[in-house]
């Protein structure tokens, strides 16, 4: 077998892991080995791809389905973008699997958990490796399924089930748009192979159908990446185990939308209006989610809103044409957000699955290792140099300034918010008075090792942009504004949550602030809006129409027959003479009729 191995090995290994895990009754030790090992092997294969000379590889296994001019192969395509994604997925994925072996130990659904995680890695690698949109869609839905399974991992609580279902259905809304976009592309271009598509786009520059296609594909990306207006599912998705939140709902799956748009960036370059829309959506989401992250009282929900906000940055980058920068940010974000989630997982575990910030505080001394990891994560999140986030975010902001100062302003505002809520979390969890003694499970060596590795990546990851970034010349002041507002945010956060907490208490008493707090806590009221707009009417309609109103005409027919029956009932009185009379009369009438005619 030639080295590097064929691309299909990368999804096949975790898939094999999934099959083994789901079919065989294994000991927990074997489960951990298989679950982690399959992803580890996939990571090795990916590494061999990454280290291989950077050429584009295109491999096709076989035809999946075909019809007339449509042919969809199981085709794999690997370029720089794919390599970056593969690195993130298998690398971070491996680390998170490793962490999970300890974190999930003793869980009754241990096997189920690892099976779903392996399936997820398989699907996600398919998503990024696919050379055509339908095969990509297979991965796309596959990751959605795994997300569903893992959010609802603790199935006893109906709330988890609801969150899982919500995640699946909301993303499915986007997926449907994606499918339609895909149809449109096929309709106009006659192919679904990504490279063929992109090559054939040129003559259609600016045509309106291309805009529609761009919009539809964007819809898919919005759903998967939890961007405005489909962001509602991600905070609820935190109902899953923490490693799931780290892997699926922070590092990889939610960035699938970014990947899709990055992959199709030539398409968006041809429709500037839509591309601008992507930037606006990203900018809006980033502020919206930043505000919500600021007021969350649940540690994981705060991180979830932060994820939405950071993906907003990526969309902003995509929208201003800096797709390389977005992918760069995707990578660094995967590092530091995984780190943050996993650290949070340790904290939560230590506090007996307590996620409420109110119950936390002063953990710096009790959990020093985790404190430092978390701090590094937040530094990276807040884009303070020299952490990884700084480089990637700067790349996006610089380009945004070049395209439109307005968009840049959105980004800077977001940076301030990011820094604020990031350090708020640090301060509330690790500083201040100690509220709960962390006598729960202590992090095992493996878990700490994973945290340290991720910390390292979060620190130095920014030095290695995976794709060549476009040279941008921005004024120095502008370049300094990013770290500047982050520092400002740090200062304000320290002031508000550490030095002068009473100021905050003062604000709380203002009715306006209370309303705003509540509003942001609920994610700008989108949940209730959608509930009232879609869910409630749908459910009501179902309840009303459970018996199917279409039965009415047929029931009416039955009723008519019954009435007729009742009316004719007296004629059936069982008397022989009555019947004989009837017959006689009938015959008489017939004869009379015959005589007359």
């Amino acid at each position: 077998m030639s080295w590097p191995l064929p691309l299909w090995f990368i999804p096949a290994l975790p898939l094999a892991g999934f099959l083994l895990l789901s079919l065989l009754p294994l000991s927990s030790r074997a489960i951990a080995w298989i679950g982690t090992g399959s992803v580890g092997l996939a990571a090795l294969v990916s590494l061999s791809e990454i280290l291989a000379p950077a050429v584009v590889i295109h491999q096709s296994l076989d035809t999946w389905m075909s019809a007339a001019s449509l042919t969809i192969p199981f085709g794999f395509y690997c370029d720089g973008l794919t390599r970056t994604m593969l690195g993130v997925i298998t690398g971070v994925g491996f680390l998170i699997h490793l962490y999970s072996t300890a974190y999930m130990a003793g869980d009754e659904g241990y096997r189920r958990f690892f099976a779903a995680m392996n399936l997820f890695v398989a699907a996600m690698t398919v998503l990024v490796l696919a050379d055509n949109l339908v095969f990509l869609y297979l991965g796309w839905e596959g990751v959605g399924l795994c997300s569903f399974l893992l959010i609802g991992h603790w199935y006893r609580d109906p709330a988890n089930g609801r969150a899982a279902r919500k995640a699946f259905i909301v993303t499915r809304v986007g997926d449907t748009a994606l499918v339609l976009g895909l149809f449109l592309l096929f309709d106009r271009l006659g192919s679904l192979d990504i490279q063929t598509l992109l090559a054939g786009l040129e003559p259609h520059t600016g045509s309106s159908w291309l805009k529609v296609a761009g919009l539809l594909l964007l819809g898919g990306a919005l759903g998967k990446s939890a961007q405005f207006p489909l962001q509602v599912w991600l905070p609820d998705a935190m109902a899953g185990p923490t490693p799931v939140s780290a892997l699926i709902h922070a590092a990889t799956m939610v960035t699938a939308g970014v990947y899709l748009l990055a992959r199709l960036h030539p398409l968006y370059d041809l429709v500037p209006d839509i591309r601008l829309l992507v930037a606006v959506v990203g900018g809006v989401t980033l502020l919206l989610a930043g505000c919500s992250a600021l007021v969350q009282s649940d540690l994981k929900r705060a991180l979830a809103w932060s994820t939405i906000s950071q993906i907003g940055y990526m969309f902003l980058g995509l929208g201003v044409g800096a797709w390389q920068a977005s992918v760069f940010h995707l990578m660094t974000h995967a590092f530091f957000k995984a780190l943050l989630f996993l650290s949070a997982g340790v904290v939560i575990m230590a506090l007996h699955h307590q996620q409420d910030l109110e119950a936390m505080g002063g953990l710096r001394r009790r959990l020093p290792g985790v404190f430092w990891c978390f701090l590094i994560g937040v530094t990276a999140l807040a884009a303070l140099p020299p952490a990884a986030g700084f480089f990637s975010k700067e790349a996006i902001l610089d380009r945004a300034y070049e395209v439109s100062p307005g968009l840049w302003l959105l980004g800077i505002g977001g940076a301030l918010l990011t820094s604020l809520y990031g350090f708020r979390l640090v301060l509330r969890v690790f500083f201040g008075p100690e509220k709960t003694y962390p006598d729960g499970q202590r992090p095992s060596g493996v878990m700490m090792m994973v945290l340290v590795l991720l910390s390292g990546l979060s620190l130095v990851g920014g030095l290695f942009p995976p794709l060549a970034l476009a040279e941008v010349s921005t004024p120095r002041m502008i370049s300094l504004a990013g770290p500047g507002v982050s520092l400002l945010g740090l200062g304000v956060a320290g002031w508000l949550w550490y030095l002068r907490p009473q100021i905050l208490h003062g604000w709380r008493r203002w009715p306006l602030m209370a309303v705003l707090n509540r509003f942001w806590l609920d994610g700008w009221g989108f949940d209730s809006l959608y509930h009232g707009l879609f869910v409630q009417p749908y459910q009501t309609l179902s309840r009303i129409n459970r018996a199917d109103f279409l039965n009415l005409p047929f029931d009416g027919l039955v009723g008519f027959n019954r009435t007729l029956h009742a009316a004719l009932l007296p004629t059936q009185n069982g008397r022989l003479r009555w019947y004989a009379t009837g017959m006689g009369l009938g015959v008489a009438v017939l004869i009379a009729w015959g005589l007359c005619a």
Binding site: W64, L541, N545, D548
Partner: protein, 473 residues
């Protein structure tokens, strides 16, 4: 071997099961299984065409012919027949011989429908499958079986009346044009009834088939019949009987009235889209597990309509695939519903919940089939729905756009099904899958995976040669 033996064997097998039962249910089940296996073996050895004289005076012949589409459906029928017999193994202890007689006769009728190349024979078999099904529901069904059986019978019978009238008129038109009576499909195909007349006749055929499919305003018999039928009956009903309607819409209607179908295609597409959405919506509304699955079947059959009347090669392939895949997935879901009912003695989802704890394997398989129902890529249903929708999109993008909303509504009911029964707090313990049940569902899982991952060989084989897409895409 002569094709007549294919349904013939099942007819004889039914009688044998009836006579051979002699008080022991297992004996009847075994005989039925053997008959089905023998027929399955025979299906692969049969020749392509059999013509025997029947009623020469009216040009009626026992004309059976088998092409790829017929063979695939015949195999599906026999396959699901075996599944149905296996699901009845425990459930049916009373008058098992008579049960198997009815089951096998229904299947024989279905085979006849799929094989008949003479419309008189077609109609004969059409009726042949309805009557034993009526008895299956009437005698071995659940609490509301009498009403359900009659509803089923009346709806399909009235549909059959339209079908019969259309067939007769077509034959008379042929007589008037050529002076020869013929019910032969090919003869009638080659005749031009005139556009206007053809429209009316197509309507007659369509009503007959749409009732069976069922399309939305005519679907009302299905939820009740499904709910009340015994598990084996439901499996057959969903897996095979609905496919006869689809088969009619897939082959007979476009074959006989190509021009009229083109003219009426938008209406049918609209009907399909409505069925997709309405079925999915109603499925979500149900509390009764079997009713839920029944409505989901309606939704899936909407995809078939959508695919066929798109008139594109992709759509047609999608329709065929949906037929096959839905046959398997719906049969599996009904089998599961039967298993749950046997364990819990209820179909009410309100009384379900938390079964995962004691029956994780059953739960995983339920999840699998629910995912198939919601069209997860990699499973057969996705291929069908994707191609059908694509085919429709190429012709009528707006209809496809509306129908695509069904993709959103499908997970709503499918996931609700899984979550309401298996998730939540465990209320009661139940036994997990037995070996027999596990094997049975395992085969269905494999089938769906094969259909989903390697659809091309199946489709290349199964797509009818005589269908000419009228839209070149």
């Amino acid at each position: 071997m002569s094709l007549v033996w294919l349904p013939g064997l099942l007819l004889l097998g039914g009688v044998a099961a009836w006579i051979g039962e002699r008080g022991e249910a297992r004996r009847a089940h075994t005989i039925a299984l053997v008959a089905l296996l023998a027929a399955a073996g025979m299906a692969l050895l049969s020749r392509q065409q059999t013509v025997l004289p029947w009623i020469p005076r009216f040009g009626i012949r026992l004309h059976l012919s088998m092409d790829g589409l017929s063979l695939s459906l015949v195999v599906l029928t026999l396959f699901l027949g075996i599944i149905a017999v296996l699901t009845s193994w425990r459930e049916i202890a009373q008058r098992a011989g008579l049960f198997q007689l009815n089951l096998l006769w229904t299947l024989a009728g279905t085979l006849g429908v799929f094989l008949a190349a003479d419309l008189f024979l077609f109609f004969f078999c059409w009726e042949l499958m309805i009557i034993p099904m009526f008895f299956l529901i009437r005698h071995w069904g659940h609490e509301g079986r009498v009403r359900a059986a009659f509803k089923f019978f009346l709806f399909t019978q009235v549909g059959g009346l339209f079908l019969w009238l259309a067939i007769l008129s077509l034959a008379f038109l042929h007589y008037r044009q050529t002076g020869v009576f013929s019910f032969d499909y090919q003869d009638l195909r080659n005749m031009d009834p005139g556009f206007e007349w053809g429209m009316w006749l197509m309507l007659g055929f369509s009503i007959g088939f749409l009732v069976k499919l069922p399309a939305v305003p005519l679907h009302l018999w299905l939820p009740e019949a499904h709910t009340q039928a015994p598990t084996g009956g439901s499996v057959i009903l969903a897996g095979v009987l609905l496919k006869t309607g689809a088969y009619g819409m897939l082959r007979i209607v476009p074959g006989l009235f190509p021009l009229q179908v083109q003219a009426a295609a938008p209406a049918f597409l609209g009907l399909g889209a409505v069925a997709v959405l309405y079925g999915a919506h109603q499925a979500f509304a149900q509390k009764d597990l079997k009713r839920l699955i029944a409505y989901s079947s309606i939704s899936h059959m909407g995809w078939v309509l959508l695919g066929v009347f798109a008139g594109t090669a992709a759509g047609y392939r999608g329709a065929v695939m949906t037929m096959l895949a839905h046959g398997v997935s719906a049969a599996a879901l009904f089998a599961i519903a039967g298993m749950l009912q046997q364990r819990v003695h209820s179909r009410d989802l309100d009384l379900y919940g938390g079964f995962w704890e004691s029956a994780p394997r059953l739960g995983a398989l339920t999840l699998f089939f629910a995912l198939a129902a919601l069209g997860l890529p990699g499973l057969g249903n996705f291929v069908g729905e994707f191609l059908a929708l694509l085919g429709a999109f190429l012709v009528e993008p707006w209809v496809a756009f509306v129908a695509a909303l069904g993709l959103i509504l499908a997970p709503v009911y499918a996931l609700t099904l899984v979550q309401r029964s298996f998730h939540g707090n465990p209320q009661r313990a139940m036994t997990d899958l037995t070996l027999r049940e596990g094997l049975l569902l395992g085969i269905l899982v494999m089938t769906l995976l094969i259909l989903g991952l390697r659809p091309d060989p199946v489709l290349d084989f199964a797509v009818a040669r005589d269908f000419v897409p009228w839209v070149e895409r």
